[in-house]
Symmetry: C2
Subunit: 120 residues, 2 copies
């Protein structure tokens, strides 16, 4: 099982990885095959759908970067944390909050919410 700090760091990395082959490798290693990712805007299942969502986000917001913005509060197979997303001129334009649920060191579910942002 991966350490949850490492797991969340890799999770953030996937949103910032612009090499599509490398990103898909990261996603396949990070998530369980039956994983789900649900935030206010999307409801996804499986690494391929998550990959497509990240690609679309990067295309829609050129230069966007995602950074962890809180401590990671973890116990059992779950963790919560806040993150920022934005471009260099406004790195915290969007503030998100996720609970992730893990299964044997991989992410089984992401339950995402919006803390602050243009769409909030």
């Amino acid at each position: 099982m991966q350490d949850v700090q490492t797991l969340v760091a890799r999770y953030m990395d996937t949103f910032n990885e612009t090499d599509s082959d490398r990103r898909r490798e990261l996603l396949d290693a990070l998530y369980t095959p039956d994983c789900t990712y649900t935030d206010p805007h999307v409801d996804l299942r499986g690494a391929a759908q998550i990959d497509g969502f990240i690609e679309q986000t990067q295309e829609r917001f050129p230069g966007v970067a995602f950074t962890l913005a809180s401590a990671i509060d973890a116990h059992h197979e779950q963790a919560r944390f806040q993150w920022h997303a934005g471009t260099p001129d406004a790195p915290d334009a969007f503030v998100g909050f996720d609970v992730i649920v893990t299964d044997d060191g991989r992410i089984r579910s992401v339950y995402g919410f919006t803390d602050a942002g243009p769409a909030a």
Copy 2:
């Protein structure tokens, strides 16, 4: 499907119901058969285990009352909210935070965290 506001209100009610028969009725109606409830202290499956946990909590903290302490932020099949627990002299002695995941109007999973409290 039950409205999520109603669902969360009933969820809070179960923690305050001291009549064991009535509480079990509420729990059986509120949760799916394979439900899970995980907070920093317990990792439970099924209404019977949740029932036992609530009974122990009420015995350990006589007069404890649980109240919703935030808006309910809900989308898709998930919701997050904060709650207070305490006795009349300190009604917010404990501050908790939950994400609930629903399935056809019933609670499938509770992912709980501690925001503030003696054990935090």
